[in-house]
Symmetry: C2
Subunit: 387 residues, 2 copies
């Protein structure tokens, strides 16, 4: 699932690429069409002007106009050439938790970066907040995210200035895993000032989005994007948000989806903490450091790591992940550098695989290095047969 | 209930003054004796060496030694001469909510200051926190307390350095009502550096404590005192507290007593907010200003003030309170100065009565002044008969 497939895509895949161009993210009326008729039939009707229910004439005409301009084969091929893959509900990389969005589920996701989105998302936390944050907010976002990365968690954010950027940088700086969920095409880093950061995230982590290459962000796209951040992760931490901030939309989406919602407190005198405090008066849980976040979002295995073993047999792993696993010593920890060297791959690829293996229970972080979990060491190696 | 009675005290009163010298505050074994045998019988047994159950020989001997030294008549007379009155469960000024403490209920309270403790306590909130607070903590304590005072609420605290002092000063500075609950004799301001502040509180508000005149504070007396602060008030606000801080004892006591527990958030990086954040992760409610505190502790009348009228007929008021009520104009607000002048009394006395009348629903604060509530104006004046 790393390199975009060389073969021609599945017919449903191409129809979903087409629908990505035609439908706005989060359109629940269109989501209902997809649920009731399937992507191929919805695409056929849009092309053939066979009216679907629940939209005005004007809206239908708008969709038809977009449909007339869409070039799905070109979109798919140019994305593939740019190292961008298209992940949709029947592909193995699709994160099943996005199905919790119901009719607001994305039609598909465009993905830049090596790791498996599905596996990374299993152990991920969103860290989001104000663009115009204070130094305190930036400090907290970076520290929390570095701490999450050190505990083997993937940090998901929106790539924006302020808290989002500090969260991504905190994770990257700790040699960790991070995912940027954009409200525009993944080939078009936004904001422009974060071009370098987003490029770096695509190398060491993942840059994803619902909108096809070339699409611009709009205010409503930012808000709608937030539901993907909320649904993808086990919980959302809000670090600074004013009243009526977009981050509160993410927090409320997380609450509705049954995800953990957390807030970092700040001075009661700070307008940029007012929105967080509003959440903390409701369902959200106050967190002050990464350990508290992990205590909340971690499963039992997190609190008692010795009780959990790998959940996937070793030889169901992809070859690249198996090579990284084989590069870890039987005892003690190894640096990413040593692991990359032993697995004959790059450090970024090694980090990508190590966080996948962490999600699957084979390895854990140990300071700056990585080591096998006790189960990965002691489990009988009877897994060379497929089971 | 203002001036200490000139007549000789009730026999139970003198026995309770005696027991105040002999028993340590918060002694639940002794509290059980009092509940089962009454104060007079417990005092008789202590004097006659008729052993009571639940204490070691050594502890009994200690109580007997204290009993031998106690001089209740002298205590009562010297307190009276110093303007200190003794309030105990059968006196009209006893705040009934202290009975919620069960066997840890104070034997009695020593009170300095003009207002009625019982009436003031009806609309009171505790604001407590760290002695070594930050500037942020002092600012929040003072601002919250000024805001509570402006809304007609009485601010209760412990008279200590830091948050407590800022809370008292905030209330005093807003021309408001404040009560200091000491862990030593009320004639012996502690800490010494707060002698001026505590003297001012005794003039404009109330200084109270369980320990008889001359007694010193000890670490355990501070902790035990906190239950009185918690029980007396409708809720406790914690402004800055480190982990394992004494203020958390007050907060937990408030929770056990079913009072509202509130915390002011601070930066997650501040050790002096760590204890508050611990509370906020539990049952405590996050508050950032006085309006939020009042929203929580206020009764329905607070949210919809027009719905509530005075709860006591006008001519059951004390003469001093009636004179203050009569000095308020039928329309609009008057300053404390004008009210004091009209009632032919001092400003401190006028403030004391105005907060009593506020607790009873006759008046409300209006900016810096005071005015009659709508009910006090429109209610038919048919209350000249006793009902």
């Amino acid at each position: 699932m790393t390199a975009p497939e060389a073969a021609a895509p599945d017919p449903e895949c191409l129809e979903r690429v087409f629908l990505c161009r035609v439908l706005e993210p989060g359109d629940v009326v269109a989501g209902r069409w997809l649920r009731e008729h399937g992507a191929e039939e919805v695409a056929r009707r849009l092309r053939a002007d066979l009216r679907l229910p629940g939209v005005t004439d004007r809206r239908w005409a708008g969709l038809r106009a977009r449909a007339a301009r869409a070039e799905p084969v070109r979109d798919w091929e140019s994305a593939r050439a740019a190292g961008v893959r298209f992940v949709w509900p029947r592909t193995p990389e699709w994160p099943a938790q996005l199905d919790d969005l119901g009719d607001a589920r994305p039609v598909g996701l465009w993905v830049r970066g090596t790791p498996s989105l599905r596996v990374w998302a299993l152990r991920s936390v969103a860290v989001v907040g104000a663009r115009a944050c204070t130094e305190y907010g930036a400090h907290m976002a970076a520290t929390l995210s570095a701490g999450l990365a050190e505990r083997g968690w993937v940090v998901v954010s929106g790539g924006a200035y302020g808290v989002d950027g500090a969260a991504h940088r905190g994770a990257l700086g700790a040699g960790g895993a991070t995912v940027a969920v954009l409200a525009c095409g993944v080939d078009r880093p936004y904001p422009r000032g974060h071009t370098g950061l987003i490029t770096r995230i695509a190398e060491q982590g993942l840059v994803i989005g619902e909108l096809p290459p070339g699409e611009h962000p709009t205010p409503s796209r930012f808000l709608v994007r937030n539901r993907v951040i909320a649904a993808l992760t086990r919980g959302t931490v809000i670090v600074e948000a004013a009243h009526r901030s977009g981050s509160l939309v993410t927090a409320r989406a997380a609450q509705r989806l049954g995800r953990h919602t957390m807030g970092v407190p700040g001075p009661a005198t700070s307008g940029l903490s007012a929105g967080v405090h509003e959440l903390l008066r409701g369902e959200a849980v106050l967190v002050g450091d990464a350990a508290e976040v992990v205590e909340l979002v971690g499963d039992m295995g997190e609190l008692a790591p010795d009780r959990r073993g790998p959940v996937v047999p070793r030889d169901l792993l992809e070859p690249a992940a198996r090579r990284v696993l084989a590069a870890l010593p039987g005892q003690g920890a190894a640096s990413v550098d040593d692991v990359a060297c032993g697995a004959r791959t790059t450090e970024d690829e090694a980090v990508a695989r190590l966080y996948e293996l962490r999600s699957l229970g084979f390895v854990e972080r140990h300071g700056d290095g990585w080591k096998l979990t006790r189960q990965a060491v002691t489990a009988p190696r009877q897994d060379h047969r497929r089971c």
